[in-house]
């Protein structure tokens, strides 16, 4: 249990937690996100797309780590494109990069607490916030183990713990289920659903089934553009028996991509 501050119950003054208009972001010299329009509200959103669709670049731009080269990006009502001060928006962000580095000699607790401090969680609240985040990802037994002794799945869960330690209103997870075993995957879906009740969660993944099972909203990206946004049922409805894939959702996914490529070519 924790006490809820007045700031948390105050009504939001913005319409969309994430609002991108004609967003363009470069990855190196390549324009990986090319004129993307996206609006996200509270809930769990699954970001799908083939390799090279620009998912990771979009995630990095939303995490304010990369500067957009064009367009408008607003997070939690704060403009974060251009020369804006990112501090306020960043306090409400949680981000797990796809390949995230960590300090191998840190314990899980030190790692999560250090990240909480960098996220400007008030100092007296840091130990409690870290403990709660570690419990939520099921790493309590390993809290005082060094990061370098953890398995791949545990490292990923420690990464999720640091992402949620500041109770972010926008949580960005890039391929968070890599390295998790099936049981941990199910736990992770429950955690997502729990966080998605009052936060905007964007999960990028290449597993169509994960998205259908855990997300309230599906976003499909291809070649840096938004191809589809809608509920899992709408994604399924796009598929025919003739489309590639082992499940209705996968058939919907490949039908949408095929139509998009056909339209572009």
């Amino acid at each position: 249990m924790r006490t809820i501050s007045a700031a948390e119950t105050a009504p939001a003054t913005y319409a969309w937690a994430v609002h991108a208009e004609q967003l363009r972001v470069k990855a190196g010299r390549h324009l990986a996100v090319d004129g993307l329009d996206l609006r996200l509200q509270t809930g769990v959103h699954g970001l799908l797309g083939p390799n090279g669709a620009g998912k990771t670049t979009l995630m990095r731009a939303l995490a304010t780590v990369l500067k957009p080269s064009g367009g408008q990006l607003t997070l939690l009502g704060e403009t974060v494109s251009g020369r804006a001060d990112l501090r306020r928006a960043r306090r409400g962000l949680g981000y797990l990069p796809q390949d995230f580095g960590f300090y191998p000699r840190f314990t899980v607790r030190e790692f999560v607490e250090y990240m909480a401090w960098l996220k400007e969680v008030p100092k007296p609240a840091i130990p409690g916030a870290a403990q709660r985040a570690i419990e939520r990802v099921g790493l309590t037994a390993k809290a005082d183990a060094k990061m370098k002794t953890l398995s791949g799945g545990m490292v990923r869960r420690a990464g999720i713990a640091q992402a949620i330690v500041n109770d972010p209103q926008v949580l960005l997870l890039d391929e968070p289920t890599v390295g998790l075993d099936p049981e941990q995957r199910l736990d992770f879906r429950d955690l997502l659903a729990d966080i998605g009740v009052d936060s905007c969660v964007l999960v990028s993944t290449h597993l169509v089934e994960d998205v259908v099972a855990a997300c309230t909203d599906v976003i499909l990206m291809s070649e840096g553009k938004l191809v589809f946004q809608g509920g899992p049922e709408a994604l399924i409805a796009h598929g025919d028996q003739g489309d590639a894939g082992f499940s209705p959702a996968e058939r919907g996914y490949s039908a949408l991509l095929r139509r998009h490529r056909g339209g572009v070519a």
């Binding site: 190196g28 990095r60 304010t64 990069p97 580095g101 191998p104 314990t107 030190e110 400007e120 840091i126």
Partner: protein, 267 residues
Amino acid sequence: MTTHPDAGVLARYAEGDPALDEANVWSVETHLETCADCRGHLAGHAPDDTLALLERVAAGIDRGIADGPSPVPRRRAWSAASRRWFVVTLAPWLTMTAAVLGCAVLLQLGMPELPSLVLLLAPVAPLPGVAVAWNRRTDPAWELIAGTPAAGLGMLLRRTAVVLAVVVPLLAVAGARTGAPLALMLFPSLAFTAASIALGALIGVRRAVLVLAAVWSLAVVLPSLVTSELPVVLHPGGAAGWALAACAMAALTAARADLFRRLSSGN
């Protein structure tokens, strides 16, 4: 607040007498919330089985606290851990800087006819440390850190301050040993540190350090070794110019502080 409920009503309330009507229960409860005296009386009216129950619960809680894991000590382990990491990362580079300066001192004492090597090296002495302090290759959690509100110029300056806290005393000692003027040891090194950060805003600190060190070596160090004469910029009159340059570079950096908030491709 106004009138205390009488002892009989309080006793019936404590026993949970069903004959006590709802309006009475309600008024007793409202009164109890604000009156410590009556709460005290209420405890005295509690029936034995309630007291026994409370006793059992209290004993159970005490046992649970005694048997359970002790609370996590509220030390700031993360703070020590992050400092430990920084020191471990920085130590080899600062040791190298100290070794190079030491060699320069020995060379100069052994061969006084050469131009002061210590003076020639002083400007670039903090640069290796600065490059390591702000570098995605030496900081494994770079991308995680780059997305936090604390990331930015303030963090870079804190790390740079640690480097200077080691390098400046080294320079002072080297200057004292060789008789080089202190101002000419310190101001050029501060100017170069500030310049590497200002230029780093545009091309990344690591690249800025490489560029500045290369320019200094080719344009100043090499010619003065060839001609065996100290360049004009390192003559005693030059100190004020270096101090001015350091301030200008610092101002330039402060003006573009926003450039340090992102994951710049150069770092």
